[in-house]
Structures are given as C-alpha cells and as structure tokens.
Amino acid sequence: MELISQGAEAKIYRTTFLGKPVIVKQRFKKKYRHPQLDSRLITRRLVQEARSLVKARKCGVLTPILYQVDVFNHSLIMEDLGKSTVMLKHYLNNNQQKQAAPLLKEFGELISKMHNSDLIHGDLTTSNVMVKKVIRKKEEEKKEIEKEKEKEKEKENENEIETEKEREMEKEKLIMIDFGLSFSSTNSEEKAVDLYVLERAFLSTHPNSKQLFDIVLKSYSENSNNKQKIMTRLEKVRRRGRKRSMVG
C-alpha cells in the first residue's frame, strides 16, 4: 500500500482489494475540531461524496467504480483507473485543439447531464476529468481478426467500413473524478458557479483557454434543460468574481 497524495481533506492510497487494484480516499480527522462534531462532519462528507458518485452514474456520467464505503475509517474504496487514463489537463497540453474538440464537446454534455439531474460537481477543473482510451478486450480482438480475414477476400469497400468501426471503438471516453465537494441542488445560481469555477480553471492552466471553454459551454447549453436561466446567471457571476454565490 502506498500513499500517492495528500490534500487538505484526505489522503489517497493505492493498494489491492479483493485482488483488484484500487484507490482508497481516506478523510482525516481535524484535531482542532471537537471530536464528535468532527466525526459527524467527515462522515457526512464521505456519504455525500459516495452518493454523488452513484448519482453521477445514474445520469449517464462515467466515474470510477465505487466498491466500498468504509465508514469506520472514513474511506472510499474505488476503482484505480490506472495508466490507461490521463488527466484532461495533460491531454489538452499535449494535443491540438482540433483533436481535443470532440472531447471538450463531450465534457460539456457530461456537465449538462449532471446539472439536469441537479447534481453539482463542486470542483470542475481539467484535473478532475480523466481521458481513457477504450481498450478492446482480447475476445473482441480475436473476432475482429477473424472478420478481417473473411473480408480480405471480399470487396475493398467493406474494408473501409471496418476501419471506420475500428476508429469508433478506439474512441476516447471521459471519466469524472473527485466528487468531494459535490452536492445536490436545483438552484441555477449554484450551477452557474460550477461552470464559472471551470472557466477560471481553464484560464489559469491553459493557453487559448477561451476557445477551449467556449466549446464546452456551447455543448453544455445545447444539452441543458435550463439553458436560459443558467446562462444569464453565469453572466452575473462573471461580473461578481471568483466562487461568489449569492445564496447563503
């Protein structure tokens, strides 16, 4: 078991669980707080994060699989996404805008799916989205090889269609992570703030961030159920400043 990182709220370990590689996110106790209060607080946050992960899946957003919630150790045991994934942040730094565009479009769709189900992520940044290459399983590969052999004997046109299908299967998928600050809300103000946090994140980590964020935002508004209200709110939030919510 190795400790891979430590944030303000939790430690992240990498280990194996029931033979599987997993990531364990353990929230630690804050000794400056009253122990009973502290225990309740971290349990509540833990449960909120766990429920948000499940809710995200329910509305069609991929997340790491949550295997267990260890309430006694205030930990979440999740799937280790492994070396086949890379942060969207790194992906954008290493690829041109043209290639990244479909992923950014998908990102907008995913955020709109969450917001349509009243799920606020709370910490939308490009470090909290992972890009995964879809690896074909060995069985599928064998079938593909057999199909290819059969089709080699047939017309060239059919081979072209086959390669298109291959490309589709190798399409990259986006996986959302870190729901530590997420919560449920119908409030369009909160949703606008969620988007604003992402906009600021883009500004501070990527060059030509405006164009990148515009792709995300456009895709978001195309898929949002409450586009008008949220967009007008977003304008207001922009004028106000960082992470400023008018509510509470």
């Binding site: 669980f17 029931l18 949550l66 295997y67 919630v69 260890d70 006694f72 930990s75």
Partner: protein, 174 residues
C-alpha cells in the same frame, strides 16, 4: 471455492477464510429451513436469483465482516449480516425475504466462515461457484428491480458494475 479475504488496511495475516458453494437440485429444503431457523447451521444461505457475480457476493461479505470487527452489526450473526449488506432496504426482514432462502427452494449459494465446513446436510448437486454459473442462474429482471437499476445505467458500463455501485451506498448510516 475458498477465498482468503482481508480488508484494504489489513495485512494477509489478518485475512479470513471463507468457503462458498453453489448447490442445485436440492431435495431437502424443508429440513434445511428448519435447521437454519433453529440456528443449528452456521452458514449463510443465499438466493442465487439475486447474485450476478462472485464480486457481488464478496463485496457484501467483506462489508459484513468489517461491521462485525467494529461491533457494529445490524443483525445478530455475520451470516445474516451478509444478507443485510446485500440488500438495499433498511429492514432486515426485506433482506431475508429477497436474498435469503425462498420457500421450497431448490437452489442455494452456501457460504461459511468455518475452518472445516461440513456441507453434507445439503442434499443436492454441487456446481462450481463462478461468474458464468451465477449468470445462468440469476434473475436479471429481479436484480434490476431490487436495486432499481435503469437500462441507461447498464448501457453505461454493465449490470455487474451497476450492482456493485448501488450496493456500496446501501444503508449508509450518518
């Protein structure tokens, strides 16, 4: 099939041994039922209709074990705790009703924590306990209904994964 299970923060020395068997064509259901009710069998009997994969059952088992270790079981024995951990319902009765022995059952998954478990009391045919057998004997519609899993969720990854995720947030006490 025997497993050595241990929690994420435990070493292999602290692991527990469990034995899981799948029995089909059981002909002494009434006898087993009465023995279980009397508490004379220290094994967990699970309804195979409700189990979709090995992982599914193991996840619930390890949670039950963790509850026992922390003196925080909702039920009286670890065997019944496994059934409660499988269940998305608050009440223990519902857990037994869906995941436990059904009336006039002919198939059962039997799990034991004993060092040298004796399965001779069960008169039936033993099948292997693995994913392919479990998938054949499971009732997918029933599982989707109990865990309230929609088609969209299954499309996203698979039924196996959806069940594990749903189960992980069962009965989380605040």
């Amino acid at each position: 099939m025997t497993h050595e299970i241990c929690d994420w923060n435990e070493t292999k020395n602290e692991s527990s041994k469990i034995t899981i068997k799948f029995f089909s064509k059981i002909n002494n259901a009434e006898n087993i039922f009465s023995l279980v009710k009397k508490g004379e069998i220290e094994k967990c009997f699970i309804n195979p209709e409700t189990i979709i994969s090995e992982e599914h059952l193991l996840m619930a088992t390890i949670r039950a074990r963790r509850n026992q270790k922390n003196n925080s079981m909702k039920t009286r024995t670890i065997e019944s705790e496994i059934l409660w951990c499988l269940s998305p319902y608050k009440g223990v009765g519902m857990a037994f009703k869906h995941f436990g022995l059904q009336e006039n059952f002919t198939e059962a998954i039997v799990l034991s924590f004993e060092e040298q478990p004796d399965f001779s009391v069960i008169q039936g045919e033993e099948l292997a306990f693995n994913d392919s057998i479990l998938q054949k004997h499971s009732n997918v519609d029933k599982i989707k209904d109990i865990y309230q899993i929609s088609e969209d969720e299954i499309q996203l990854t698979s039924l196996k994964e959806s069940v594990i995720m749903k189960m992980s947030v069962n009965n989380l006490r605040l």
